[in-house]
């Protein structure tokens, strides 16, 4: 999921030694597989929510890569977010098949509703493979179909509190 305009992007605090140890352990554990960098970064995001800038030198050292090599990979892929996620995440598909069913209206409505929110972040995604039942999106990672603005509001009613 990629963040855009309305999403908050608080600067992460410096990583703690505990986190560095955890990241090192993840990297060491996966360093033996072929092409280990992507599996390691996925595991870091899975465990810690995002890739901290301070994680980069740790991973680079374990894999004997330059920090630039690791950072280049982190920044290339949308999944390797570099800031902590908000409490709730909306990711709406804006690709052609969902556009054909009104995805732009849903996206505009969500972006407007949570503009400036620190609790809910609205992101875009390009195809969730649910193209016959659009507009599609994920709410905290769970796939939903036919997301009209009203249905999205109903599904996220509790978040407004």
């Amino acid at each position: 999921m990629r963040q855009r305009g309305p999403s908050p992007a608080p600067a992460p605090a410096p990583a703690d030694p505990e986190r560095a140890a955890s990241v090192r352990s993840i990297a060491e554990e996966l360093s033996g597989v072929r092409g280990p960098l992507l599996p390691i970064l996925h595991e870091v995001v899975e465990t810690h929510g995002f890739v901290h800038d301070d994680d980069v030198p740790v991973i680079a050292e374990v894999l004997n890569l330059s920090r630039a090599d690791v950072l280049g990979v982190v920044s290339f892929y949308h999944d390797f977010r570099r800031t902590p996620p908000a409490a709730h995440r909306v990711a709406l598909c804006r690709a052609e098949a969902c556009q054909a069913r009104g995805a732009e209206a849903t996206y505009a409505s969500a972006a407007d509703r949570w503009a400036g929110s620190t609790e809910v972040e609205v992101g875009e995604v390009f195809c969730l493979g649910n193209c016959a039942l659009g507009p599609s999106g994920t709410l905290d990672g769970t796939l939903h179909a036919r997301l009209t603005p009203d249905r999205l509001d109903a599904l996220t009613e509790e978040w407004a509190r």
Partner: protein
């Protein structure tokens, strides 16, 4: 005896509440089995109840209706679909790759075998690699990812390459909007893919394989990983494939949200742990692919067709289809379509039959304005072109492409100019940045289309757009930059009015700037 009820575990079914329906049935005390989806996605969650006549389907079931359904209250209504195997939407199709999807439990290897699974691999193990490749060549099977390259030729190149280590990589980075067959196959019948990859490995002498599966498909990732574990436990994978002495190890690698990684060389770099940047070819991946070793790279649907090719023989597969497009294609109906889902049919079926007869027109009930065939890089086609047969060559001749078989339907509220702009915008966002025509051309393309739509020096900018499209088509390293002009040009050709251009001549355009205002330096900046 308590009835057995089937509730799909496919992501599309789950997206409309299938898990809650399954829970409700379980709470009601019936045996619940989770199948893949039959592909009639507008009917999901589609529940099937086992009866003496066969499995009887019920459409759009809500958790609150479970007791009523079990008591027979839906029988006789239009929600009851009768015996699913006799449903006309399915019986009309020719399911080869999707024969088991929706029928069996996805990770039940005994059911897989009972429904014909592993027959292809068992036969392949009695043949030499050369003979297996010959069967695939004879079948006429072509790459289903979009390019349509003959699989047999690719395999033979890898087979003949001398190397200690060869790979089989499955491209499951199904990022094209409007395509979901790879996902449904992996979620509904993952052993077919595993068997197809194993046959490829045996044929070319590869010992390791990877499935590059996109992170947007978490259910598919889980199902495939479970299926691979089961395949290892049953000796289909591992040190001696079905006791043959062939080693084949298979692993799933998860993409990270980069569209470009669906391009094969970019996918290989991503598998190696690098930025997913496109490689220049040659060398071709068949000779220098993953980690520089000879590598088979095929799409999910290509590899999933292989078990049937080996089980029934290449000639049987080649008997299906039309012209140089042999076998079946799994078409996917999406977007603004009344009856969306998966239609597997022999090549040669017309676009009209797919969109109007299977698809039933638009979901909104408004007239169909266009369909986009083959993903975001495919052409927009108006209903006047709907008699085109689905065939690689026929589509190419019409400046379109079959691609991965995705068909996205738009009603008359679609703005083709906005879609053309989106094609360029998406390319600009997702370009890997390695070649200039794609990286820079796409950004300039957005600007030029904006000027055309705003009426700023429209004639000059149309010339510029055409020139830009030619540069991108001929100068880009890969299909992303090379094919982005296809939706742009087709939108402009078929729907010029959406760009503010009169269909016949430009004379009718009144808000254009006078020709004298056009810059003469070859540029067209306002």
């Amino acid at each position: 005896m308590s009835p057995v009820v089937w509730v799909p575990c496919d992501a599309a079914a789950r997206s409309v509440g299938a898990d809650a329906v399954a829970d409700a049935f379980a709470a009601a005390g019936v045996t619940v089995r989770r199948n893949g989806s039959r592909g009639m996605l507008w009917l999901e969650p589609m529940v099937e109840v086992e009866t003496e006549r066969g499995r009887v389907g019920y459409a759009n079931v809500e958790p609150s209706e479970v007791d009523a359904l079990l008591a027979g209250a839906l029988d006789g209504t239009d929600r009851c679909l009768g015996v699913v195997d006799e449903h006309p939407w399915l019986t009309r199709q020719h399911r080869v790759s999707f024969a088991r999807v929706g029928v069996t439990e996805p990770t039940d290897i005994a059911a897989y075998r009972a429904h014909g699974g592993l027959a292809g691999l068992e036969r392949a193990l009695t043949l030499t690699g050369e003979q297996v490749v010959a069967e695939v060549t004879e079948s006429g099977l072509r790459g289903r990812g979009g390019a349509g390259f003959p699989a047999g030729i690719k395999w033979d190149t890898v087979r003949k390459a001398a190397a200690d280590l060869k790979f089989v990589c499955c491209n499951a980075d199904e990022g094209d909007s409007g395509t979901f067959a790879d996902r449904m196959l992996i979620e509904g019948d993952p052993f077919t893919l595993i068997e197809g990859m194993t046959i490829a490995a045996v044929a070319v002498g590869a010992t390791e394989g990877f499935v590059y599966l996109r992170s947007e498909y978490p259910h598919a990732i889980r199902t495939l990983r479970r299926a691979i574990d089961i395949a290892y436990a049953h000796g289909v994978l591992g040190g001696s494939v079905l006791g043959s002495g062939h080693r084949f190890d298979l692993d799933v690698r998860v993409g990270a949200g980069a569209y470009i990684c669906g391009e094969e060389t970019s996918m290989l770099d991503s598998l190696e742990g690098k930025r997913g940047e496109v490689r220049a070819k040659p060398p071709i991946p068949a000779l220098q692919g993953l980690f520089g070793q000879p590598t088979v790279v095929n799409n999910v649907l290509t590899l999933s067709a292989v078990p049937m090719v080996l089980a029934d023989g290449g000639a049987a597969y080649a008997a299906l289809g039309t012209g140089k497009s042999r076998g079946t294609q799994v078409f996917q109906l999406g977007g603004n379509v009344a009856r969306g889902g998966v239609v597997e049919a022999d090549f040669g079926i017309s676009l009209r039959e797919l969109v109007e007869e299977y698809g039933g027109g638009t979901a909104s009930g408004r007239p169909v304005k266009a369909v986009q065939v083959g993903g975001p890089l495919g052409a927009y086609l108006p209903p006047a072109k709907f008699d085109l047969p689905m065939d690689y060559e026929a589509f190419a001749a019409a400046d379109a492409m079959v691609g991965h078989g995705g068909i996205v339907v738009f009603d008359d509220s679609m703005d083709a100019g906005a879609m053309a702009r989106f094609a360029m915008e998406f390319c600009a966002k997702e370009s890997c940045g390695k070649c200039t025509p794609c990286r820079v051309g796409s950004t300039r393309g957005v600007e030029v289309i904006d000027r055309i739509r705003a009426g700023t020096q429209r004639e000059a900018n149309l010339v510029l757009l055409d020139d830009l499209c030619t540069t991108m088509t001929k100068g880009s390293l890969c299909a992303m930059g090379g094919l982005t002009p296809m939706p742009v040009r087709s939108a402009l050709e078929h729907f010029p009015e959406d760009f503010g251009v009169a269909p016949a001549t430009a004379d009718a355009v009144t808000d254009d700037m006078p020709e004298s205002a056009t810059s003469t330096d070859g540029g067209a900046r306002p």
